[in-house]
Symmetry: D2
Subunit: 310 residues, 4 copies
């Protein structure tokens, strides 16, 4: 079977790829949920053992994927629905948020590179109140209790001369948040998932993930506080596209395409190329608003509307 | 032979595709020139007969391609060299520029969509003097003679409610330039040509060319004055990538990949996707500067340095 | 009485200045209306005779000023109210809008100069449909009748080499709109009016108005179709500020400040300086949204809510 | 004598104001130098005693002002000259820069508010190398020794929920630079100094300085390492303008303007207004480039050209 090395930041896609080769994976639990009205599908992949982590190529933790097919469309109501759904998933994994917490949101990525600018754009739309609540209390907002929310866009190393992780570590030590929410653009394996999938995970953010290169980990181990990662795939490596098309052709035709693996020249010129949607600039703006609204709702200490399906 | 419908705005690529199927094309003349020091290759494709136009799928005219492999790098000296080379090619096709002319430069495309923003960015860097020369003469610049240069970025139909062609037609009638230079982003067939190829052509700009959709022609027929088009390929249709990789595999392996044509599902999900380089945002800025410098040099009525190779 | 030459684009301020010197002006009619709930004040100045025009220093026509004190605040409901009020004023002066018309909106000014970027920003938020209605009819929007709306941002002469008026004239001849709406930033005399006043007028847009220098007239005379101008004062000339402060001091103190006129050195270094609010960047974004919403409502062929006061 | 409370961030202006009232100030030393060719004037104000600090209303330290009248013009050669002069002044106050140091440059201010965006823009143009030198040594740049330069734009509290000082403190603790260079926009008292004056000081950056509100100090006391501040005045408080014009009138006329102080109504509506130049957007871009070049030169460990006058 022709098989290219494919890169995905989505645990869901790792699971699919491995299952395609046959069956269950020890140490990896899968749950699916479908919202009938909205067509939103929620998949939880729990990597529970070291063996599972090794096979999946991802660290231990929970990876929740929200797939919303209509997310690429310009439907405000639908986007609101996705924001609420995202807020629910975030509350599921955020630690102790019944009590007032201090939360640092980190917008990773490069504002100057469209496909990598999700994090900075989410930061732009975020409700931030730490400075006000610290000075005047929740009363400043006519509330009795509030989380204190701060936000940083560390920028890229070529501009700062520092790892994102160094900047975030310094700020965490200085301001002592209870946990982090880190937002980043991801690479997917399938174009079907581009711009319509949101992954929430509890295992932190790791070197080399995302579109750009955000070296050094942001994890509970390195920072001392939990890190919840939110990612949206915005690109697919161009080489992956060719590999996947070949696999599908083999499957459809029942034949084997000899030599795909042996002829890397077929894809070598695709290095440093990626596939993205034609309306990526506008899509990023819309998606980042939806994600920031999801975070805003998750952190507002109010009751969320119950899920359509429940 | 598996063969996908591929789209390219480069006459050079049409010629290669057709030649690949065997030999010469009546009515299409090809000339090549190489600059040894800079590695720049200049190819002139002249479509001289209706038959040639039909086979090539492009209108009659001259299409000059400048391929500069190092154009993706950040080397100011090299970019300057390419600007001078582009200026020479432009002077080759601009009508009567020994005399003072009025020239309207049109920056086509969509400023909000990175891969389609070449034209607007070129406009930003352009030297514009029509208003000054009309009021004070070339003396305002301590010169004895000058072309008068104006520039318009018509914007996209979704924002203006008008075809780019309507806006340009109106301005041409009102301001009566002697000829137009229209700049646009193009689609190529091969990722090898992305961001390192500049095409200069004399046949105008046609519907549906470019990354976005700039409907209605800007041609000598429709406008009454010659139109010189400058294009740089910034994207490749994602489906093309798969087709090309398959072709190369077939060629390398000597086998035939059955069913590529019969299994369109393999590429259907690539609709509305394109392949582009990871650093497209920065690349567009650099390229647009190089192109605008080429236009500035071509229009300054001074002697250009002679070509390295000649 | 010390009196500096002050520049204002607001007919209302001309009227006040002249009245301050004593009484009525022949040929100039003034009407005032107050919306009690919203605190919005509407003033209509009609310059009906040449004498009136001479005294006022403004061409014949109707100048309606909408003063909305809370417009500088971030209150969405209030901004909506102002948009509706503006829509009403526009309908008052737009010709024959019971029938389907073609309307060209012109966003004057310089996108790169914050205080002069109102016009371009209004264009960004405008609902544009001419291209769709011309191809598919109002049915494309599930409507039976619709105005066809197009929009142009001509840009500044330093970038285009053309007068805004040349560009607009060309487009008017080519696309034949029934009337124009031109939007521009204005200069006021009093900082009290900055960013909270909208002027609608029927006399076109004239040379040298606005913050930048948009030469050559856009008027019914020059274009052949009516021109409705919408302006918002965003700056005050710095020299005006000093003059006004002196006048107020004289008035308050009952004394005369000798020599203000004789000592122009006091204000000469203020040339090319203007006074603006500290939050001008954000204010322009908010105001331009309110103005574009006003235009969108005015042109949607639906019934507007009736005025609060009536 | 009528006298308004005026605010300036320039020690030079404090000195002038106080001297205007008569003579020398104990504990404050003044030195002037003039570059004849370029017309650049360098003034050193040294506040050496607590008494001097109290009278000046500024902390102990050295304040060097570079006044370059032609800095508002678009003359590349002149800007280069100013960059070299700034580099010399920086070397004068930077500690121990004969040895390799680690330097953190901080771009204070608000990128979204033109007049307050100097710091972020300087950061954009800065040469940053810490990450490269730490990994590959100076050899990566074909050099034997290099300072390691990093850079942060902390952003504004409304967006981050944190004081700039908190962010900078955290990063300083984490990355341990030898000293800081902090860049910020300033307020001047006189429009004559806008955009043509650069102040270098050794006393750190203090609360409420600058156009926006950057609370909490960045000083050697609070951070543990020296802080060199670079500031450029980009605005004048509008009320100051009126006060200054009155003072000049009194001086010119020999009369006293009664009641200026008693009639604060004359200037009260100028609250939250500032005076700035009409081309502020473009000016900030040009100035920030000149300042960043000055820092780049100061930190390149090469010999600077000697001063024109010396």
């Amino acid at each position: 079977m022709s098989s290219f090395a494919v890169r995905t930041d989505l645990a869901l896609e790792d699971r699919e790829r491995i299952e395609g080769r046959g069956g269950e994976i020890h140490g990896v639990v899968l749950e699916e949920e479908n919202r009938e009205e909205s067509g939103i599908r929620i998949t939880r992949v729990r990597i529970e053992t070291k063996n599972g982590a090794r096979i999946m190529g991802k660290p231990l933790g929970t990876y929740i994927t929200l797939e919303a097919p209509a997310l690429t469309e310009q439907d405000e109501g639908y986007h609101r629905e996705v924001s609420v759904e995202l807020a629910r998933l975030l509350r599921e994994v955020m630690p102790d948020v019944k009590k007032e917490r201090q939360v640092l949101v980190v917008g990773l990525g490069n504002r100057e590179v469209t496909a990598d600018s999700l994090g900075p754009h989410v930061a732009d739309n975020l409700f931030v109140n730490r400075h006000v609540v610290m000075e005047f209390g929740p009363a400043a907002y006519n509330r009795e209790e509030m989380h204190r929310i701060s936000c940083i866009v560390p920028g890229v190393m070529a501009r700062t001369g520092m790892e994102s992780a160094e900047i975030v570590h310094g700020i965490v030590k200085e301001t002592k948040p209870d946990f982090l929410i880190a937002v980043d653009a991801l690479a997917a394996r399938s174009t079907r998932r581009l711009n319509r999938t949101i992954q929430v995970s509890t295992s932190g953010i790791y070197p080399g993930s995302g579109v750009g290169n955000h070296r050094n980990a942001l994890t509970k181990d390195s920072l001392g506080v939990p890190v919840i990662a939110i990612g949206v795939p915005t690109v697919v490596d161009a080489a992956t596209i060719v590999g996947d098309a070949l696999e599908r052709m083999e499957k459809d035709s029942g034949l084997q395409i000899i030599g795909a693996r042996e002829h890397p020249g077929a894809v070598s010129e695709l290095n440093n190329m990626y596939v993205t949607s034609k309306d990526i600039d506008e899509t990023i703006k819309r998606l980042s608003f939806t994600v920031s609204e999801g975070i805003n709702l998750a952190l507002n200490m109010e009751k969320l509307p119950s899920a359509g399906q429940t």
